[in-house]
Amino acid sequence: MAVIEVERKSLTLVERTYIPAILSGLKTTWKRMLAPNVTLSYPEQRPEIPTGYRGVPTLVKDPNGREKCVSCQLCEFVCPPKAIRITPGEIAPDSPTAHVEKAPQEFEIDMLRCIYCGLCQEVCPEEAIWLQNQYSMTGFTRAEMVNNKEKLYAIGGTLPDNHFKWDKKKSAEEHGNAH
């Protein structure tokens, strides 16, 4: 290995007074003071959320307005902090979405327990539960921090769906070749 001798220059008298360094530092801070701010005024200005951000878990509906969740309870089982609680329910036979058979009667996510791991989203066969870009979930009471089904749908909204799995199943059933 080659040895490179580094010459250590001793400081000149002017440099040793530190005055040029201080003046250039003052110049730097002066420029910094006139430059635009780099911070956000948070509640008014929101940061840009990158795609794929895992914020608050929500429930979504499909473009037909049907709730996607079929209360299979996989998310409830997989949830590491046991934040999800599903009460399964039947769909009334006279409902236009009766062919789906099941929907949650109640769906609760306790945000005091949720760790935003995203396992519920991974495991959901219906793509019904999504971690979306809301990142500030706050409340004044413990009860307020438990998101019920209504609230989950309100936050989640509707997501685009390319598959329409249950529509296909319905039409297949009507043509006599279910399964």
Partner: protein, 386 residues
């Protein structure tokens, strides 16, 4: 109005003048704490305090939001908070001295204003009359004597807190202030050597220094910062150390002393220390401006008299003592406010010294330099004034 004022009994005049000065210095010292927050925010690239808004004022169309953005109302919010929040006194302290310390801090800081001339006007004979609370010949000596008493409050606060870190802070404060007091005093001696010609009655009055800087001629009109740049620099460095500002804030130095001498203090008592520090800063930069930057003279070689002479072409009002007084006070205050800003600017530029560096700089660099500076000017002035 003028005659009315001068016909009042002397004590009423004195009280009125004193109250007027307090009414200016107190708000400046208070507003400094806000300015500090704002300037530091700007330098750090953030907007700084901009939330407080009293009810109703936000509805004023343009001014309301603008004042809110500037954080003006935070002055009231800070003051109210510091006044009304809980003010604990630790159980193991000497209560009398513990409470006495912040009071002692604020007394010398505000007393020094007495010796500072902050403006001037011309009387009927055309002679310059400085605006000053006590136009004493001891001027600067009085300032040094009284302002150095401020260190007692730091020592007392450190000792009375009965806790290690405040105690260390107090001890460090006393050592630091003594080290820099010497070079500070020595660095201003050349200025007074210059203005006191032999054979004339000597003076230490700050007003005389400013009058000297407004004389006609090249040497007369030059500000002392041009004639004695090293003195000005040494005085400025010592001033930073005297007022405990960064990079010399050894008594506080929260990186190694938690909060320094005021670790045990909270709310209003704590704020008194800070108002005292800012008052000290205000008076200190006032003295720097008077000694080296021509006081109330607007520009070097252009004294106040010349400017008033130019303005008198515009009308009678320009030579009125009231107008001249306000003009000179605003020029002086403008310079002082710039220096307060400079203190804050430096705070966010330079890193804090280590304590041994502070001591080394005080005793081994600044003190020999100021003595050499003094000897040089002694010889030079002896040759010039012969």
């Amino acid at each position: 109005m003028f005659d009315f004022f001068f016909n009042l009994p002397l004590w009423v005049q004195i009280v009125a003048k004193g109250l007027a000065v307090i009414a200016v210095v107190f708000p400046i010292a208070g507003a400094c704490s806000l300015a500090e927050r704002k300037v530091s925010a700007w330098i750090q690239g953030r907007p700084g305090p901009n939330r407080a808004l009293p009810w109703g004022l936000g509805y004023i169309p343009v001014i309301g939001p603008m004042l809110q953005k500037l954080g003006v109302f935070h002055l009231m919010a800070d003051g109210g908070k510091l006044l009304f929040k809980e003010d604990p006194v630790p159980g193991n302290v000497n209560k009398f001295y513990f409470i006495l310390a912040p009071i002692i801090a604020i007394i010398p800081a505000f007393t020094t204003v007495v010796f500072v001339p902050f403006g001037a006007y011309f009387n009927e004979a055309g002679r310059i009359v400085p605006l000053i609370l006590a136009n004493l010949d001891i001027g600067l000596l009085g300032v040094f004597a009284v302002s150095s008493l401020g260190v007692y409050s730091l020592i007392l606060a450190g000792w009375a807190s009965n806790s290690k870190y405040p105690f260390l802070g107090g001890v460090r404060a006393s050592a630091q202030l003594i080290s820099y007091e010497l070079s500070m005093t020595l660095s201003v001696v050349p200025v007074f050597l210059w203005i006191n010609a032999p054979g004339q009655p000597g003076t230490l009055s700050l007003a005389k220094v400013v009058e000297f800087q407004s004389l006609p001629g090249f040497l007369g009109g030059a500000w002392f910062v041009f004639l004695m740049p090293l003195s000005a620099f040494l005085f400025l460095v010592a001033l930073f150390a005297e007022t405990n500002r960064q990079p010399f804030d050894m008594p506080e130095s929260e990186s190694d002393l938690v909060g320094g001498f005021h670790t045990e203090y909270g709310s209003f008592k704590w704020s008194l220390f800070f108002v005292a520090e800012y008052a000290h800063m205000t008076v200190g930069s006032g003295i720097f401006v008077l000694l080296f930057l021509g006081g109330w003279n607007p520009l070097p070689w252009i004294p106040l008299e010349t400017v008033v002479g130019w303005l008198s072409g515009l009308g009678e009002f320009a030579t009125h003592p009231l107008f001249v007084g306000i003009l000179s006070i605003s020029i002086f205050l403008g310079k002082v406010l710039f220096f307060i800003f400079f203190f804050m600017w430096v705070r966010w530029t330079l890193p804090r010294f280590r304590y041994d560096q502070v001591m080394k700089m005080g005793w081994q660099i600044l003190l020999p330099l100021s003595i050499a500076n003094l000897i040089f000017y002694m010889i030079a002035i002896a040759f010039i004034q012969k």
